[in-house]
């Protein structure tokens, strides 16, 4: 049994502490220790994007970050996207435009899309498709996802 490491981190503005073995990932910490299960595990090898979160403002696969690496970092997850019970424009558009079916890839896609639109709300279809290449979806065929992201971008531009 490896030594456990004390990890303190900020998630969606709240401070958390936990003890973690060094093989554990940030994804394990979020889901199993902090019970923030909105972030999903897909492949666990950085290929599918289901576990996407922001770490210190950078879009990251939380399955590729070891728990001790997260010490002192600021993490944003899907749980922080709606503010005061109000859905983010991306979440609203995904609902309205059927940007999801089974929903497993959705939190990761929303976090990834927000990372793009926050810096570039007028991203065009090509940019959105390339940006989201690291998020796999087995249900939708992607088109409705792309339309929903473009519609959310329109709304965010106007805001």
């Amino acid at each position: 049994m490896s030594k456990k490491y004390h990890v303190s981190l900020t998630v969606n503005g709240d401070e958390y502490e936990c003890l973690a073995e060094p093989q554990m990932t940030l994804l394990d910490v979020l889901r199993d220790e902090l019970k923030l299960t909105g972030t999903k595990e897909g492949c666990a090898t950085g290929d599918c994007g289901a576990c996407s979160v922001m770490v210190d403002g950078r879009l990251t696969c939380s399955c590729l970050v070891l728990a001790p690496e997260a010490e002192g970092r600021s993490v944003e997850t899907i749980e922080g996207m709606a503010k005061d019970g109000e859905l983010h424009p991306l979440q609203q558009k995904f609902l309205e435009m059927n940007g999801l079916q089974c929903g497993i890839c959705t939190p990761g896609i929303l976090v990834a899309a927000k990372a793009l639109l926050d810096r570039k709300p007028d991203a065009d279809e090509m940019e959105i498709r390339y940006w989201l290449a690291g998020n796999l979806c087995r249900c939708t065929g992607y088109d409705k996802i792309i339309r929903a992201v473009m519609a959310a971008g329109e709304e965010m531009k106007g805001a």
């Binding site: 049994m1 490896s2 030594k3 490491y5 073995e21 060094p22 093989q23 990932t25 666990a44 090898t45 950085g46 290929d47 994007g49 996407s52 770490v55 950078r58 879009l59 990251t60 696969c61 399955c63 590729l64 970050v65 070891l66 001790p68 690496e69 010490e71 990834a112 990372a115 390339y130 940006w131 290449a133 690291g134 998020n135």
Partner: protein
């Protein structure tokens, strides 16, 4: 699962000490996009991980002596967002942009891409053609090593016990220079090179090539720097005859494997085709960079 010790030293000297004193397999951890995956898949079982990201300045990209110094822990996204670096070395950026998704590039480093020692690593051929030097620090001091001398075979490097790469030095760029990298993959994104080619050229005022470096990826156990390819371009305006000689030299240099991603024959022919396209792209960039 064996015991794993995780350390995040605050200095390079401490990182070297930890690596030298390691009992059992030790790994340097930068972006983790290879190391963590290989641990997850039980391909490696390190006893010690040394995270270099807490060492001050390890992630910095600075202009130095007319060129650039890229810290070992700079992520792919940080490299792609550095405007001066993108303008000076677009071929390196071509390669870095192809390393995985945005998520992966948010963590992955060119240092890991090099030290993972995959022959298909996309950032390595353009770093080789750039003439990049790896600044290696270890128990016996420091040394600068041409990037092409770091990988020795798939998964193996020339780094000794306790040695790690601290940064990369990119030389000053003469005017009328341009570089480019392209790869062949069955998909446009999220794939691994079947063939990769990088070309770096310098031209004179008349557009005649005065210096060239050509590197091939994914067609031999390590990335190949091929002087015969450079010779095909030097002294020419990268015209059809030069491109035909380049393609032949590139195909002749290949020692590829047959695997599920490409046959030997396909890789040999594809390398020649790609070499032409990449040389043309590098030439266009060099002409535009007067």
């Amino acid at each position: 699962m064996p015991d794993l010790r995780f350390e995040a030293p605050g200095s390079l000297a401490d990182a070297v000490k930890l690596l030298v004193a390691a009992e059992g397999p030790a790994r340097v951890l930068a972006g983790g996009t290879d190391v963590v995956v290989q641990m997850e898949m039980d391909m490696i079982e390190p006893a010690l991980l040394v995270d270099i990201k807490r060492i001050p300045d390890m992630g910095r990209i600075v202009q130095e002596e007319g060129g650039f110094r890229i810290g070992a822990a700079a992520s792919g996204m940080e490299i792609c967002e550095h405007e001066a670096l993108c303008a000076a070395w677009p071929g390196i950026i071509d390669g870095v942009k192809l390393i995985g998704s945005v998520q992966v590039k948010g963590r992955a480093t060119i240092t890991g891409n090099l030290c993972n020692a995959s022959p298909g690593a996309d950032s390595v051929p353009p770093m080789v053609t750039a003439g990049a030097l790896a600044h290696v620090v270890g128990p016996n001091g420091e040394r600068d090593v041409p990037v092409e001398q770091i990988p020795t075979s798939p998964g193996k490097t020339s780094l000794g016990k306790g040695e790690l790469i601290e940064s990369f030095k990119l030389p000053a760029r003469p005017k009328n220079s341009g570089d480019a990298y392209m790869r062949f993959t069955p998909r446009t994104e999220m794939d691994i090179a079947v063939v990769g080619v990088a070309v770096n050229l310098t031209l004179d005022e008349a557009g005649v090539c005065t210096a060239a470096r050509v590197a091939l990826g994914a067609v031999a156990p390590t990335v190949l720097l091929v002087p015969e390819c450079a010779d095909a371009l030097i002294g020419t305006k990268v015209d059809d005859a030069a491109l035909a000689k380049l393609a032949a030299a590139a195909s002749a240099a290949c020692q590829p494997i047959d695997d599920k991603r490409g046959t030997k024959e396909f890789r040999i022919e594809g390398t020649g085709v790609l070499a032409r396209r990449v040389a043309q792209k590098a030439y266009e960039r060099a002409r535009a960079n007067a």
